[in-house]
């Protein structure tokens, strides 16, 4: 069950998207998200969707993988859709029963909102699938570097991030294992009311926490043994350098953003 969660997983590859500087990908993903929220009409969404599909195509990541990662979000998406259908006030009433009214505007809003969430999530998935977590944290560290002057622990934060990402799959596997072990002892995680269900989780959560602390402890010792002493005087094997393809990507990004912004002034 938990094995289907692919959040934050990296699929190595050699496409242009894979080879882009992680900073480029991070900045462009942010641009993409902002632009998504600037979309006002179908033409804007269409441009975003095309851009997204083109990127997925170039990345050679199977669309199936991206769709699979979205499974846990289905409920959020459905609720957003429903709320928009029922709570948008509009003039063209299509359907009305009890206290609920469905308007054309509502449906339009619902479609756009779900599209927006879907595209937002697929866009970020595309980034995490094509960028190793370490490269991503490197990029964040590098982009946040100016904040070091304000005494922000930038290196420490990025280290924490990359370790967290490293241990997500390990802890997911462990959760699965402990769950099976407790089920074998007759534990029931599924039936009962909310309180009973929460209580039933204790035999899962306590061992999981203890194990996480043990892992943290052992990892700290291993890091110390390998000479880790914080960010000072540290070098990096993979140094970030912008290449010509990054310039091209930024240009494409700028054109894309401009195109979407222009659609705001179009009648459709």
């Amino acid at each position: 069950m938990l094995k289907n969660v692919t959040l934050g997983q990296y699929f190595p590859g050699s496409s242009i998207i894979h080879r882009l500087d992680p900073r480029t990908k991070l900045i462009l993903t942010l641009v993409y998200i902002v632009v998504l929220f600037l979309c006002t009409g179908p033409s804007g969404y269409a441009i975003c969707l095309i851009a997204l599909c083109v990127c997925i195509g170039i990345s050679q990541i199977k669309p199936k993988l991206i769709l699979r990662g979205m499974k846990p979000l289905i409920i959020v998406i459905v609720i957003t859709g429903l709320l928009n259908i029922f709570y948008t006030r509009g003039e063209t009433v299509l359907l009305s029963f009890w206290v609920l009214t469905v308007t054309a505007e509502g449906i339009r809003n619902a479609v756009f909102m779900t599209l927006r969430i879907l595209m937002l999530v697929s866009g970020t998935f595309l980034m995490t699938y094509t960028t190793s977590p370490l490269a991503l944290t490197d990029a964040m560290e590098s982009l946040m570097n100016p904040l070091k002057k304000l005494k922000m622990p930038v290196h420490e934060l990025s280290m924490m991030m990359s370790i967290a990402l490293r241990f997500i799959p390990t802890l997911i596997e462990e959760t699965d294992k402990i769950m099976s072990a407790q089920k074998a002892r007759g534990a029931d995680f599924e039936s009962g009311n909310l309180l009973q269900k929460a209580k039933a989780l204790l035999p899962l959560l306590i061992p999981l926490f203890i194990s996480a602390f043990r892992r943290a402890d052992e990892l700290a010792v291993a890091m110390e043994a390998r000479g880790y002493h914080g960010g000072e005087g540290r070098t990096k094997m993979k140094q970030l350098r912008y290449m010509s393809c990054d310039a091209a990507a930024f240009t494409a990004g700028a054109v894309f953003a401009a195109a979407v912004i222009i659609t705001r002034f179009l009648p459709v």
């Binding site: 596997e173 203890i210 052992e218 291993a222 043994a225 390998r226 070098t235």
Partner: protein, 578 residues
């Protein structure tokens, strides 16, 4: 240059109020391959951590390449001189990608980026992991992870690598991989290796063996010098290699370290007495494979198949239609290497996994009758997972053991009775029951966790590698208790393992798993007669059986179905004239 790389002088260390090291004076030469043996809690790991200043001596001194480890300013140089690889492969890889992890040490010491790349590549080549450079670390096997960890140590260009029980959590294949790498680094790159372990066999090819017990050095010498002293090893709770034990049983000089030496000694003795083949009236051909006779089956599977990630590109057939019959009241063994499907299989027996197709029958009833799981099946088929101590969660041991019976909705007095009974079966002292399970030793935790399943009084008890990571003494204790329990409770027991010696010692019937199917099953005699096939599918046969097979190659017409030292000695004695 000084020939001594590491020197300790009267080293003491106190751990949580208990003295862990009580005055250790040792020195390690450059280029040496030393093995430190000791039972759990003997102080060997504490000692290892003092060698690169993770532990600062409580008393006495440690010098690494002439540098005093208690001087703070020396620490960076000491840590780049002595690399460490730890026990748990999952808890020492820092980065998600193999090559990034290997680079971690170099990055910490500020090596120039252009140089790191070269070091990382050559370190990965040295451990034969070059092809996995860009792989995700968590997807590797245990042995591969440990090799990556070793590469991480090598990349920092150390003079010495300390492997702190780095093989303890690995399967035989992974263990062999790590040992091979350690020996090669020692020979080809001249790196001093200090290997800490409780596996006797790993010490046989070392230059030097040091035995630790209770914070002291009990013995120090070449493997030959140390292993002939059976008393010393017994005192350290370690036991003697089978080759030495066999020679001892036969009254030969007990100094054979490997199979060849042992076989040569035996042949020598046989020839000295004149070859006596008078007893050889039996056939020496391996007995034909028989399928397991089944009068009263407690568990049965029919054409059991399991697919992982069905309908995705990752679809894999983990079980390929298994027909399995388990006779009531026996001690059965399931053996197979990692990935052979044995763990997936046993999770079908109590309904944790649902078959993709095929049936599981408990007492001749389908446990998935009508698509819903048979109520109470998990109480009837008890399953103890690998490293079961990681599932302990209650405030006291007693409460934890009671978790299973409580889920069966038994009355309080029955629960208390079962807790006491289960604790007694696994040899857990009553005064430990009121303690927190987290305050127990490793072996005690393991036993408490096993008791938690026994307390459900299952008809069938299945244990997945119950001795993984324990020292020989702790392993034996658990297995002996399980056998007593099986006889006393009259239940059926299934031991899943990849240690052939355990199967040889305890199991009545053996199922050999390979590639998602049962390759063959039968009594031990029939299984071990197929030594060649077992080797082909990556399983080791017991050391004694290997000796006997070598004897056969050398012309002694002895039966190959021998799997314990006692039986081997008996068989060999037929050919030695007294």
């Amino acid at each position: 240059m000084d020939d001594i790389l590491i020197k300790t002088e009267n080293l003491t260390y106190t751990y949580e109020g208990e003295p862990a090291l009580r005055g250790i004076s040792l020195s390690f030469r450059r280029g040496e391959f030393a093995v430190i043996l000791g039972h759990n809690g003997s102080g060997k790991s504490t000692f290892a951590k003092t060698l690169n200043a993770l532990n600062i001596p409580g008393g006495g001194k440690v010098w690494v390449d002439g540098l005093d480890t208690s001087v703070e300013a020396n620490i960076p140089r000491i840590r780049s001189t002595v690399g460490m690889v730890f026990q748990n492969p999952d808890n020492q890889l820092v980065a998600s990608i193999v090559e990034d992890d290997v680079a971690f040490g170099c990055e910490n010491t500020g090596v120039d980026p252009s140089e790191i790349r070269g070091r990382v590549d050559s370190a990965l080549e040295a451990v034969r992991m070059g092809a996995f450079k860009t792989h995700a670390a968590h997807q590797l096997s245990g042995g591969q992870k440990q090799r990556v960890a070793i590469a991480g140590a090598i990349a920092a260009r150390p003079k010495c690598i300390v492997l702190d029980e780095s093989t303890a959590m690995l399967d035989p294949r992974g263990r062999a991989e790590v040992l091979e790498v350690a020996h090669r680094l020692n020979k080809e790159m001249g790196i001093t290796i200090i290997l800490i372990t409780h596996h006797m066999r790993e010490a046989i090819d070392a230059d030097r063996v040091i035995v630790f017990a209770d914070g002291f050095v009990l013995a120090d010498g070449t493997p030959r010098e140390v292993f002939v002293n059976a008393e010393i090893l017994d005192e350290a709770g370690l036991g003697v290699p089978d080759t030495v034990r066999l020679c001892g049983e036969l009254g030969l000089p007990a100094n054979a370290l490997n199979i060849d030496e042992c076989a040569n000694q035996v042949i020598g003795a046989v020839k000295a007495g004149g070859l006596d083949t008078a007893y050889d009236t039996r056939s020496t051909e391996p007995a034909p494979l028989s399928s397991v006779w089944c009068g009263d089956c407690v568990l049965e599977t029919k054409a059991l198949k399991h697919l992982y990630s069905p309908d995705t590109p990752f679809e894999t057939e983990a079980l390929k239609g298994i027909d399995f019959k388990l006779r009531r009241g026996i001690f059965a063994g399931i053996i197979g290497h990692t990935g052979s499907g044995k763990s997936t299989f046993i999770q079908h027996l109590n309904g944790l996994l649902k078959p993709s197709s095929g049936r599981v029958l408990l007492n001749a009833e389908d446990i998935w009758h009508g698509g819903k799981i048979m109520p109470g099946v998990r109480g009837k088929v008890g399953l103890v997972f690998q490293y079961p101590e990681y599932q302990l969660f209650e405030e006291t041991c007693a409460k934890d053991i009671a978790f299973g019976p409580r889920n069966l909705k038994l009355p309080e007095n029955a629960i208390a009775e079962r807790v006491a009974e289960a604790a007694a079966f696994v040899g857990l002292k009553p005064d430990l029951l009121d303690k927190s399970p987290f305050s127990l030793s490793g072996g005690e935790k393991r036993r408490a966790a096993i008791a938690g399943v026994i307390a459900m009084r299952p008809d069938v008890l299945i244990l997945d590698e119950p001795t993984a990571g324990l020292d020989p003494y702790g392993s034996k204790f658990i297995l002996e208790n399980l056998r007593e329990y099986q006889l006393a409770a009259g239940c059926t027991l299934v031991l899943v393992t990849h240690t052939m010696e355990e199967i040889a010692e305890y199991a009545d019937i053996v199922y050999v798993f390979n590639n998602g199917d049962i390759e063959f099953d039968g009594t031990k005699e029939t299984i071990f007669a197929h030594a060649e096939r077992l080797r082909e599918i990556g399983l080791d046969i017991p050391e004694v059986t290997q000796i006997v097979l070598r004897l056969r190659e050398m012309g002694l017409p002895i039966t190959p179905s021998v799997y314990t030292v006692k039986k081997a000695a008996e068989e060999i004695k037929r050919y030695i004239k007294c």
